[in-house]
Symmetry: C2
Subunit: 223 residues, 2 copies
DNA sequence: GATAAAAATAACTAAATAGTTACCTTGGCG
DNA sequence: CGCCAAGGTAACTATTTAGTTATTTTTATC
């Protein structure tokens, strides 16, 4: 069991070129894993397919990352990190609360439409009852900055009385995300049941505007 | 390929007892399939496990239902039907629109909290890009009566000016469902990220009230 | 160039899996 | 009883799969 990772070897005297070497290999493997896992789910994904996608031998894949579960967790952390990184680029302090809230809503929806791999991996992790994420020692890092952002914008809007009071930021976060998540994640079954394609640009924009209307409509102060 | 289903044999002279016979066997198989598929997903589910759960031999399972994909589709149709059947019991005509809408919202949320197998199978069908559902010759039967109910209640509420105008019933349906779906389906990852259990009675009731508040808040007419 | 460690490959293994085949059991009916 | 078909079982097959081992190639350093 004492498998030394090839990445642990002392760095060579020459700098490692950007497009090769152990670190780059690991990146390529994780990218390939995200793609395969997102398309097939954990049980449906094939380790051989991931190796092939990464253009690497299976033996090296095991050396770099470990077994299939470790691969899943690394891929899951990767898609979370990617979203968190994007979330952190949001700059809302200068915007008035109503506008800032709209930016948050649209950002979330667009992220979900553009990153089906994020939705697919989250769904499958939930099928596995979140056991991998619970065992991750990096969960704390994956905590969404969005919740803090929402809290801040919400508080500002409540002070200036453009938003209603007594709104739990976590509930609002789950609602904001859920309104887009279900539409994106379940587009195929919705499409089959309604006999209507939902992946056109028009349908997606219509949905985005509806989500903004729902959240902003809800947040209007009581008369 | 000419496999005669055992169910096709002429009925015996004695009546088939309720708890045995081909029809009952098929029911038991489908129940077992729903459970196994919901826990493991399509790729993770094992045909042997389904046969064992149903207390039936694999040979008979193949005779009664067909291969794994046919089993999946039959199970998927079954969970849809179950929800549609429940939806049809809603009796909203007598209720004033605001109350009727709340009943719809709560019904949906409760159904999702109480039927994780419905969510799990829908998620996995979407991972498979809805291909099985699209090939089903029974999709039309699976169309949700909820959409019609929502349309009716919405129209009544708009006439009496308790609801805002210009609301697309399909968007409202997707929102109503999505607000609860995400919370239920992703409870494990949400729980891990927020380091907070979401499956207690209190948390579920809090969420239900929030969903009601969001939808009803959105539906308030503009001032 | 020699050497040794690192990196990569292909071939292998043991277990699991969807689907099938050959065979056995039961019960109704003349 | 004797027959036969429906209903059922166990053992099998061909393939696939995660994970490993034996071996070769590459690279850095002297």
């Amino acid at each position: 069991m004492l498998k030394r990772s090839p990445a642990a070897r002392p760095a060579a005297s020459t700098d490692i070129p950007a497009e090769s070497g152990p670190v780059a290999s690991r990146e390529r493997i994780l990218d390939a894993a995200v793609t395969e896992f997102a398309e097939q789910g954990f049980a449906g994904a094939r380790v051989d397919a991931i190796a092939a996608r990464a253009g690497i031998n299976k033996r090296m894949l095991y050396a770099y990352v470990g077994n299939k579960k470790a691969l899943w967790l690394a891929a899951l952390e990767r898609v979370y990190e990617a979203k968190r990184r994007d979330e952190r680029t949001l700059n809302l302090q200068r915007l008035p609360p109503a506008e800032a809230m709209q930016v948050l809503i649209r950002f979330n929806f667009r992220y979900h439409t553009q990153h089906p791999e994020f939705l697919a991996m989250l769904n499958d992790e939930n099928l596995q009852r979140g056991q991998n994420l619970k065992e991750s020692h990096r969960v704390a890092e994956l905590y969404s900055p969005l919740l803090t952002l929402i809290s801040e914008v919400l508080a500002r809007g409540q002070e200036t009385e453009v938003f209603r009071r007594n709104v739990d930021p976590m509930q609002l976060y789950i609602s904001m995300v859920g309104l887009g998540y279900f539409f994106c994640s379940n587009q195929h079954t919705l499409s089959a049941i309604f006999d209507r394609r939902l992946d056109s640009v028009e349908e997606v924009l219509t949905r985005e505007q509806h989500i903004v209307d729902v959240v902003m409509g809800f947040l209007r102060p009581e008369r």
